[in-house]
């Protein structure tokens, strides 16, 4: 439905990932979960894109779908394409997909405590993808692993290679995880809330590390988060998701300066601010996230929206351009219906 007009801000960079009309569903005993509903967006080479939204809005699921990591059943990709360097990942045979995963596209997960295999040594877990994708000998893979661990700032890397995940702290484990994923020089790194499970001070270190790695290795980065604070300092472009749909997409400055979707507005309003009185209450968005068991009809945010009009309840707003670098799926703030 929506065909995305290309960005005119930065110099045109080659297109890396082009997701078109992706739909993901889960068939559960309670009914069909409409997890991702017709989302489309593009990522260019070397670009940093943040995908923002609350838990269960489909931001992780859409990425896992692209990588073929959705368990099927119960999951199903109901439609769409994900063109990565011209190939549709959604229709790639499993063998080819395995060489994309961990090779061209890498993914760092949320919880470093559970994302590393507890019974295999770091060496084993670091070298196995090098040996699989880069056909390295055990010795080459070992040397490369030490190099990578040093790169992500693990002290005494050569000695720690033989250690097991439980011998590392949370932040160190996430560093190991990042090193592991960078092993084969991916052109796209997907970071799925990599700081959520960590202490605040460690969070900053990890953000800083990923940024540094990205600058050094020049890969594109998709950062999935619900933390708008991280987004502001990191991303070039932001995609806001709600109930499995993209509700707003903009370059980072426009999004923070002129949000054009009520959900984005509400999210920004819910941020704690240092210039506010300490005893003032933190704003929250009234209502609850929508039930994804119901097939979406109309704007998913309508029940919680203060700008809601009749049309919102019956017709789903497409992403409409509000400026060359910003699109919003709102009849009122983007579709010009606010005057009614």
């Amino acid at each position: 439905m929506t065909v995305y007009a290309s960005h005119s801000t930065a110099a045109p960079r080659p297109l890396l990932l082009d997701i078109r009309n992706l739909q993901v569903r889960f068939y559960t005993p309670e009914g069909t979960v409409y997890a991702v509903n017709d989302i489309s967006y593009k990522v260019h080479e070397g670009e940093v894109v943040a995908v923002v939204g609350e838990s269960g809005c489909g931001k992780s699921v859409s990425m896992m779908a692209v990588l073929g990591l959705i368990p099927r059943p119960p999951g199903e990709i109901a439609g769409g394409e994900a063109l990565f360097m011209g190939r549709d990942l959604l229709r790639l045979p499993e063998d080819d997909m395995q060489s994309v995963r961990g090779g061209d596209i890498a993914m760092v997960f949320q919880d470093p405590m559970t994302s590393l295999n507890p019974v295999l040594s770091v060496r084993r877990q670091m070298t196995e993808s090098l040996r699989r994708h880069a056909n390295m000998s055990p010795e080459q893979a070992r040397d490369r692993a030490v190099e990578l661990l040093e790169l992500v700032g693990i002290p005494d890397a050569a000695r720690r290679l033989g250690d097991y995940p439980h011998q590392f702290s949370g932040g160190m484990r996430q560093r190991v995880m990042i090193a592991m994923m960078l092993a084969c020089n991916p052109s796209l790194l997907i970071a799925d809330e990599p700081t959520t499970a960590l202490d605040v001070t460690i969070q900053a270190q990890i953000v800083e590390l990923v940024t540094r790695m990205r600058e050094k290795l020049g890969m594109a980065l998709i950062w999935i988060t619900h933390d708008l604070g991280v987004v502001a300092g990191l991303a070039e472009r932001v995609i806001v998701m709600y109930a499995g749909m993209i509700v707003e997409e903009a370059d980072v400055d426009s999004l923070f300066d002129r949000p054009r979707h009520p959900y984005t507005l509400a999210l920004l309003g819910a941020l704690p601010r240092v210039d506010r009185r300490r005893d003032s209450r933190l704003n929250s968005i009234p209502g609850a996230p929508p039930n994804l068991l119901v097939e979406p009809r109309g704007c998913p945010f309508a029940p919680r929206c203060e700008y809601v009009i009749e049309r919102c309840r019956v017709e789903r707003p497409p992403l409409m351009p509000v400026s060359p670098t910003q699109r919003s799926a709102c009849w009122v703030l983007a579709g010009g219906e606010g005057n009614n």
Partner: protein
């Protein structure tokens, strides 16, 4: 590590004492071993008294236990019943390796009687355990990978039949089908009793042939139980985050399954196997009985019925020691499999 092993072995000593006392007291209440010693005839009162003295059964319970434990060669006993201790005892006690003389098989020591059966039982039980582990692993992993598929549902149904079938029923049914009916239909039938055909002799081929039905009986029920367990353990592990990480690294599915998943799933499975292995020595009471397999299970039943305390106690103590040893081995295997477990 070796300190841990030594500590565990030392801890086992009081445990074994405790177990042996309980077993000894229970055996003492079972019945009168002398009652059946005369064969078909009723034992004469004079013989009865003599035997009672010879076997030390005239002593109070705690003395009997003491004799069993450390022997009676350190004191004079009254054999002729005149009230004067005049003969030096000959028993050396289990602590010095003397299990006592069998009451049922006169002239044989309990140790000889037991040791005679151990190879037969081990042959049957180790074979069964190997078959169980191989098939249960294959079936369990397969049905975990194909959760809720038709094959999984069929396996589930068969497992529940297997799990809920009494072992004697399966044994008799298999005899009925493969021995009785196959012979009637003129098909090659399987032997139902013993270890070998006496007319052919104890050849490896004969023993293997005679093992088929008992092994099938023992394994059927256990494979059903094990494979369910392995299936659920594997399902649990396959849902872990680190499996998703391994998949995100683009590793081959088989590699993920056997290296990343199975090593994690192995821990609870090893627990199960470790506890079972120890009991292998005890044999399979029902199966050995039905198929007339000359193993420990049958030995235990036969000697239990005749209240042959030295043999029965010998079997039970041997079992207790094996259980303890295998528990230590199981714990050590944990450390081998899971680097988070250390015994220092």
């Amino acid at each position: 590590m070796s300190r841990y092993i030594i500590r565990r072995l030392l801890q086992a000593i009081p445990l074994l004492f405790f177990v042996s006392i309980i077993l000894f007291v229970l055996m003492g209440q079972m019945g009168d071993p002398i009652a059946t010693m005369g064969g078909r005839r009723v034992t004469r009162p004079a013989d009865r008294e003599r035997l009672t003295r010879q076997l030390g059964l005239d002593q109070p319970g705690y003395m009997q236990y003491l004799y069993w434990l450390v022997g009676n060669d350190w004191r004079q006993i009254d054999l002729d019943g005149d009230g004067v201790p005049d003969t030096t005892g000959t028993r050396r006690g289990i602590l010095r390796g003397d299990f006592g003389m069998s009451l049922m098989k006169r002239g044989q020591s309990a140790w000889e009687v037991i040791w005679d059966r151990v190879p037969n039982t081990l042959l049957l039980m180790v074979t069964s355990e190997v078959v169980i582990i191989i098939f249960a692993l294959l079936i369990g992993v397969f049905s975990a990978l194909r959760q809720y598929s038709l094959a999984d549902h069929v396996i589930t149904a068969v497992s529940f039949i297997g799990y809920s079938t009494p072992i004697f029923f399966f044994a008799l049914l298999s005899i009925y089908i493969f021995s009785v009916n196959f012979k009637r239909w003129g098909l090659p039938s399987l032997p139902a009793v013993g270890m070998f055909d006496p007319q052919v002799g104890r050849t490896p081929g004969q023993v293997a042939l005679h093992m088929i039905l008992p092994v099938a009986t023992i394994t059927f029920v256990s494979i059903a139980a094990y494979s369910r367990y392995i299936r659920s353990t594997m399902l649990e592990v396959l849902n872990e985050d680190y499996i998703r990480t391994a998949r995100a690294k683009g590793l081959r599915n088989r590699y993920i399954l056997f290296v990343h998943a199975l090593k994690n799933a192995a821990l609870p499975i090893v627990t199960l196997i470790g506890l079972d292995l120890a009991l292998l020595l005890g044999g399979a009471l029902v199966t050995e009985r039905i198929f007339a397999w000359p193993g420990m299970g049958r030995l235990f039943l036969d000697h239990m019925q005749r209240f042959d305390t030295p043999v029965v106690m010998g079997i039970l103590i041997l079992l207790s020691v094996t259980v303890i040893v295998f528990q230590i081995i199981t714990d050590l295997t944990y450390a081998l499999l899971d680097p988070r477990i250390r015994y220092d």
